[in-house]
Amino acid sequence: MRDQQLQDILRHMPAGIATLLGPELRYGFVNAPMQALLGGETPEGQPFAEHAKVIPHDLLEVMRQVRQSGRPYVAKGYCLPLAGPAGDAPTPRYYDLALEPIQSENEEERGLLLFAVDVTAQEEARQRAHELALETRRLDARLRVLTETAPQITFTVDADGRCEYVSPQWYYFTGQPPTADLNAIWPLLIHPDDRLRVLYQSEAARAAGTGWSYEYRLRRHDGQYRWLLSRALPELHGTHDKPDKPAYWHGAMTEVHDQRALADALRRGEAELRFLADSIPQLIWTATAEGLIDYYNQHTAEYTGLTGEELGPTGWVGLLDPAEQAGAARRWIHCVATGESYEGLFRMRRHDGQYRWHLIRARQLTDERGPCWFGACTDVDDQHRLREVLQTQYDELARTNRDLDTFVYAASHDLKQPLHNLRGLFDELRRTASFDDPEQEVILGMVDEALQQLDTTLHDLAATVQAQRQLTAPTEPIQLAGVTEEVLLGLRTQIQEAQANIILEFEAAPTLVYGRANLRSVLHNLLSNALKFAHPERVPHITVASHLSPVGQPVLMVQDNGLGMRLKDASDPAFQLFERQHPQLAGAGVGLYLLQRIISSRGGHLEVTSTLGEGTAFTVYWFE
């Protein structure tokens, strides 16, 4: 081969080639790639060391030794900082360098052949692989620490369900030795009631290539079975829509025992409440925040004959008396909007069509789950009926009472005429007949007195009934002085007969708001009493005075210096109809009874103090 041809080939090799000759390693042949490597000019005959500043010292030393010893040397992946274009920072590049000695007798021609193949790409790949390996190891370590410190048991099983890996927590939890045969022991630690289900579910998931999530009880080191949640996902490779069949499942088990116990307690609590609600013989229901009923108790079905389904969220309103439905519905909508409690008395239809009175009540409960409603309908029909019966009886009694009054009034009125006739006849008899026996005179006097007494009684009975009727009469402000004068005018005969001294003191409370006729009756009775029971041995002194009590209520006092009387209890005179204090004196005893009726009916009471032989004081507290 011609020298020139050889040089051409060498020049175009994709590797750097150079000959360095003589003790100073001068440039001989240098092809283009080597020129580029060395950084440009490589004038023949120039010493390599002076020119190529890029060549590190150790390489230069090795070159000299190769030339001297005649033993070739190969350096793999040797780093040479290659000067970048236009003075950029040198970038490291990697070469496989072969140093081949060139033998010659001539000292100047002895040298070496430098052969450099750029392996930067391979070297970089190698380094990356190395870094990746380091990173992988780091991640591995991190994963291990995480899986072994998390409060969960982590595991990996293969497609046959054989356990490939389980974190140390499994051993802590179960108390099994590290030498335990996982696949044999694990199923035995599952609670017998859960075992079949767990094995079946996990196998089904593995067969389907899906993950799983189920709970079961596993025996802890202390022999207690604890609830665990086991979740696992298959490790999927291949494309998203065409995945390979998974070979491994990775998962974790978390202890959920306490949550479960809590949930069980809640469920039990709810079941108990429901049981309670179902046992109560009342209509009980709950409603959502929107006011839609979502539960009716057992008794509701029994009473209405309708299921909760048939009643629906608002069906209750249809059970009410049709006339009351609209009002009840409006009230309920309002309560739902405002949160106000609901209450109402309604007639509610029973399954047999009978309407019974119910008290419907509902209250809103607001907790962290938001508002809801609790309602109850209580059957108050019996109470209602009882009240109606009582009302009827009361009305009847009141009517009877009125009839009785009317009868008494009519009787006393009707008896007046015969009495009048009797007196006329008796007077006529006295005038025309003559009696020889002196005893006859006494008897005549007694007949006269009896007729007088009968007249008073009839008069008082009529007055009582009259006053009774006037109790409902309207009240008006009345001047006490004026009314008292009128009453005294009516009593003037008695006053003159007794020569009584009467003092009126109304300055402290001159007016009283009262029924006029009633006031007149009260004054008349008190005054005529005082006159009637005057002491025969002294001039009657009667004081009529009004004043205001400490709480500002009007009080009337009538005081005399008469016979006085025997009292059972001053604050409760308990005057009984026809009870006579002084049987030797005329009077029916109706008067005090009448007084008390009037005063207590208008909201007041009567008090009396008395000393036998000294006098009596009546105090009228008009209002309490």
Partner: protein, 144 residues
């Protein structure tokens, strides 16, 4: 009742109104739909088979979730003349003229054919959708 998956825009509502008016008229379905801030409630009347199929379709509609049926009952006569919708559009101008559209407080009175229990249900549901205070011309009073 149900919840919209995300708030429905004026345009969404208008499209729903147009589609439902068209299809419901074709299928002889009447009733009313309330919408506000993602809350939805609807009452529909029609042939049992039609209603059953429509409910299944609506329940599967991806625009809303938490669909639940409050009551289902057979009725002797309808209470609604056609199908309409009530809601608060952002631009109410655009809706004034639309057939079958009402502002919430303009919903006409519930007819007397509706039992009070059912009228009350409609009122409670409307209150749940629009909030208290929207008293329309109906309310249970009017149906007495």
């Amino acid at each position: 009742m149900s919840r919209a998956v995300r708030p429905l825009s004026d345009q969404d509502l208008q499209e729903l109104l147009a589609q439902c008016r068209r299809d419901n008229a074709r299928d002889n379905v009447t009733g009313i739909l309330f919408y506000s801030h993602g809350n939805i409630a609807q009452l529909i009347e029609g042939e049992p088979a039609v209603i059953e199929a429509l409910f299944q379709k609506i329940a599967r509609d991806g625009r809303h979730s938490h669909v639940h049926k409050l009551v289902e009952k057979s009725i002797k006569q309808r209470s609604f003349a056609d199908w309409s919708m009530a809601f608060h559009p952002l631009e109410s101008e655009a809706f004034h003229e639309l057939a079958g559209f009402f502002l919430p407080h303009q919903v006409p009175a519930m007819p007397g054919t509706l039992a009070i229990a059912d009228a009350m249900l409609v009122d409670l549901v409307r209150q749940a959708v629009f909030g208290p205070g929207i008293s329309s011309q109906d309310s249970v009073t009017a149906s007495v």
